[in-house]
Amino acid sequence: MARLHVESTINGEAQEFLCDANQSLLDVLRDELGLTGTKEGCGTGDCGACSVLLDGRLVCSCLMLGVEASGSEVETIEGIAGDEGLHPLQNAFLENAALQCGICTPGFIVASKALLEKHPNPDESTIRYWLAGNLCRCTGYDKIIRAVQDAAAKMSHPA
């Protein structure tokens, strides 16, 4: 069967790609577009490593088809840093040593960005519930929570 032609906006740029009807957005990002920052952990929507923003909404890219992104805006970890350098969340993760092996990190950063857009000053409980769908087997989560709090503080009171 012919592959499907899809047009969407990825990290602010218009993109066209071909995909199979059953190909996930995750596989399209990694295998068709070379955006390998988005990771596959479980492939069943349980770990959050493949988190992306679809029209500003946090989703698992393994739980949607690539063709479903047609006409939508997708933001991946590759689109988080701006021209001026790393995003405050990325800096905060580095400064707080909120990563070890790094596989979960893109998902955590994307999910945290969505959180801070909705709740600029979240309390710890809000952060933990929001990030409950992102699994990390290295850090024990505490450093991640501190990093998100740090980034939230810096983003609301820039130095």
Partner: protein, 291 residues
């Protein structure tokens, strides 16, 4: 071997035509809304290729309406979108709390309560909440639409009442009075990202301190979620006092036919469902008084 196909029709008639043509041609189809169950099922070994029929492009399935005439939640409306609707939060806090328990923030960005209903898992959290809220399924058929109470929609483990060629457009409800409130509670070993050991959806109406109407539905303790009329009978006419709550809890326990699995034994589930029932009624009662 047949390969997967994908169509995203923009009208009910087109969806019905695709379903009809596929049946005539002997091709399998899979309706797709949020996809949080469908995508996982597609990756199962030996999953047979089929035509995916995405129903998210229809105006009807994207309806989310809360007004004096009633409430309509289309089949493509995600839990995240429901959660952000203040009118819905006020009218049906219990249904929202059920949706809010299904999966992570990411999953809720896609998952729909109608999908949860169609998937018909015995542990689907939204189903007891939908039954307690007296939801009516709005089903698209070749000859128009037909309606069915949510309680009749799930007919077995993983089985729903949709006939070949039909699909679920949404669920609708009468607008509850301010003194009518719902609540949903479930028990899981973890507080997040887990599947219910037992769940209870309730709705109570309170006038002058007396319960004038009640609906109680239990989940994860039988092959399908059940409406427990004996529990409601124990509540109606009472002041929702401890004795009435205990009787309702006992009625839930008596109606359950739980199984034992890795999440809990049958005995434990029967016990927990009674406790959840009492607690959920207390929450709904408080909400009704605060209205």
């Amino acid at each position: 071997m047949e390969s997967y196909g994908y169509v995203a029709p923009s009208s009910i008639a087109e969806v019905l035509a695709v379903l009809n043509e596929s049946t005539s041609a002997g091709r399998m189809t899979q309706l797709l809304a949020g996809g949080s169950d469908v995508l996982v099922q597609m990756r199962m070994p030996n999953h047979q290729p089929r035509t995916i029929v995405d129903i998210k492009k229809l105006a009807e399935t994207n309806r989310l309406e809360v007004n004096a005439e009633g409430i309509y939640i289309g089949a493509a409306v995600s839990s995240a979108v429901m959660n952000e609707h203040q009118g819905l939060r006020k009218a049906m806090p219990g249904l929202l709390e059920a949706g809010d328990l299904i999966g992570s923030t990411q999953v809720q960005g896609r998952a729909t309560i109608c999908g949860n209903l169609c998937n018909a898992s015995p542990a689907g959290d939204s189903i007891p909440a939908l039954i307690a809220a007296d939801g009516i399924c709005d089903i698209a058929t070749a000859s128009g639409t037909r309606e069915m109470p949510v309680g009749d929609f799930v007919v077995g483990v993983g089985k729903n009442a949709l006939r070949e060629g039909e699909f679920l457009l949404g669920v609708k409800f009468a607008m509850p009075k301010a003194s009518t409130k719902d609540a949903y509670l479930r028990f899981t070993p973890r507080t997040e990202m887990d599947i219910a050991v037992a769940g209870v959806g309730v709705r109570v109406s309170v006038e002058n301190g007396i319960c004038t109407d009640a609906r109680v539905s239990i989940g994860a303790v039988a092959p399908t979620a059940l409406l427990v009329t004996t529990a409601a009978d124990a509540l109606i006419g009472s002041s929702l006092d401890e004795a009435a709550l205990a009787a309702a809890g006992q009625a839930c326990r008596d109606s359950a036919s739980a199984i034992s699995d890795k999440r809990g034994t049958a005995e434990y589930r029967q016990k927990v469902v009674a406790v959840l029932c009492k607690r959920a009624i207390a929450i709904a009662h408080k909400r009704a008084l605060e209205n």
